[in-house]
Symmetry: C2
Subunit: 332 residues, 2 copies
């Protein structure tokens, strides 16, 4: 039968067992060979529970998360794996509950996107590790030295944005990132500090221009407002959502973007070319990061060890219209 289907005996057996190691098209060829040979197909109930893979996102409202969720889900689908989507709800189903649910389903692995792994709490995280569930964390909020991490190169992204802004003449540049303790934000802040230290700008000058905010447009509006009142002519933001908040915060003070204030984002998520003004932002290589996440997941599912520390993925500064030369009119 294997010969008839044009596959090895091992592949044929795996295909009939519903193994995740066999591509859906190959499995279909094996099943068709059974049909032709008049052998009944194995019952669907025999499929492998571990085909289910959790895809945990904080939400689908920050537009970078649907991008990662789609990239991961479509790759899982192509391998015959089954993405189980978990999103936080406003009225209280927490990440910890999802993890219980995913464990109850005996999932074959979990991909955590953004802060969702940290939000699940240390107890749940160690429950997963104790049970040996293959894990991949994309842009995690914590260090999590013991799990595979796929992260954007936050430091380089900030360096690119600052080089762009100082190249246009900005000197008083602010930084608007996520909450204190959010590791990608801490990496961005460290790169920001290093940039000015290398230029011998004293920290008293730039520290009042740094703000932490929750990842929401509203929080961005408020914190950007404070950074601007402290005299920034440009703000480097840790997400596109925060950058859109910064644009609004500037407008609330009667300032124009980019006429009076330049703003850069991070992600280059959906529609950032269509917003007003089109956003200059650091594009995360979502597709390449999803490829790496899949590779690390499948290695672990096959019982191999995936390296926890991964080289960060370089972002690309996409220059649009939210950045320009600093205004020369004086501001208070």
């Amino acid at each position: 039968m294997a010969r008839f289907a044009g596959v090895s005996q091992v592949t044929a057996r795996r295909a009939l067992e519903g193994s995740s190691l066999v591509a859906p098209a190959t499995r279909e060829r094996v099943l068709r060979a059974l049909d032709v040979l008049g052998v009944p197909r194995p019952p669907a109930q025999d499929t492998d529970r571990s085909l289910l893979i959790g895809v945990v996102v904080p939400d689908l409202k920050n537009p970078v998360f649907p991008a990662f969720a789609e990239a991961i889900s479509s790759r899982l689908n192509k391998r015959g794996l089954v993405p189980v989507l978990c999103t936080r709800t406003s009225d209280g189903v927490s990440e910890a509950n999802y993890i219980e649910m995913l464990l109850a389903q005996n999932v074959g692995g979990i991909v955590f996107i953004g802060s969702s792994y940290a939000d699940a709490g240390p107890v749940q995280g160690s429950a997963l590790r104790d049970r040996g569930v293959p894990l991949v964390l994309i842009n995690p909020a914590d260090e999590n030295a013991d799990a595979v991490q796929i992260s954007a190169d936050d430091a380089d992204a900030v360096h690119q944005a600052l080089t762009h802004l100082t190249g246009m003449g900005h000197e008083r540049i602010g930084l608007l990132v996520g909450p204190v303790g959010h590791v990608p934000s801490a990496r961005k802040l460290a790169a920001f500090a290093a940039f000015f230290k290398a230029r011998q700008v004293p920290s008293e000058d730039w520290m009042p221009l740094v703000g932490h905010a929750l990842f929401s447009m509203e929080a961005g509006v408020l914190t950007a407002g404070r950074i601007l009142r402290n005299g920034a002519t440009a703000i480097v933001c840790g997400s596109d959502e925060l950058a859109l908040g910064a644009v609004r915060g500037a407008r609330r003070q009667g300032l124009e973007v980019p006429g009076d204030v330049s703003v850069t984002g991070f992600d280059d998520s959906l529609l950032m070319g269509a917003v007003d003004p089109p956003l200059t932002t650091c594009r995360q290589p979502v597709e390449r990061m999803a490829d790496a996440a899949m590779e690390a997941l499948v290695m672990q599912m096959q019982g191999q060890r995936a390296e926890p520390g991964v080289t960060p993925f370089q972002t690309q500064l996409i220059v649009r219209n939210s950045t320009g030369r600093p205004a020369h009119r004086p501001r208070s």
Copy 2:
């Protein structure tokens, strides 16, 4: 034990069987009662396969789909059901493959969003119905009289947009909707025709201002370009994505929105208040539609019949800055 947990015996049994009819919190209370009484918990492997629910979206790039996917997924999570996300991939995993995959997993039901059910093809659809899989279709592309449908009130949405535009003085109004054969688009076109017929505008006047396009920004740019060349001063669009395309199409002809051309969208998806110009659009009541979808799904999962024909859900015109009075300067 049931008494100890404060639930009925039926509920306790269902909870231990992992039935989807028992809320996760209740199940947890029953399990805790077992712990207190020193009875071992049932193994996790006993959970019900039919807890898996397919959530099929054409993609997560049109921003209305993540909104529906999140609303549905979070409701499933809250009921202890497990959303399996299926998205089309650019390189070829089709809806038909997902349905095979979902059937192989013995899913307890499937929610199809947008055109995903029609795209799966009639053979797959009848396979699902033959197996009695509970189905709910949200804004389906076809009529599908035999499945539960949750649809926005397309006709009323077009009527609202046209009333808004004619109220500002527009007379030559175009309509940009999805492909021929896409039922929500056909409903919008019928309402558009009825609106002008009631005003005794001959069809020769408005027919050249109607365009069909695939649901993508690029297709919107091209088709809107033709509608504008035929003299429209406003375009009512069948999705926000098409509306963003129409704004670009107008700009390519050197026209300003809303100075020269007014544009309305449909969905009020993510960021439509942040795009340039902020889009006037008909908001779909995503949360209420998701509630209705869940109710219809759960009824079917409990073996009850859910009514296939459902009253369409009224949209709300959100007036922003992409619409204004028609320009008085002459256009060719």
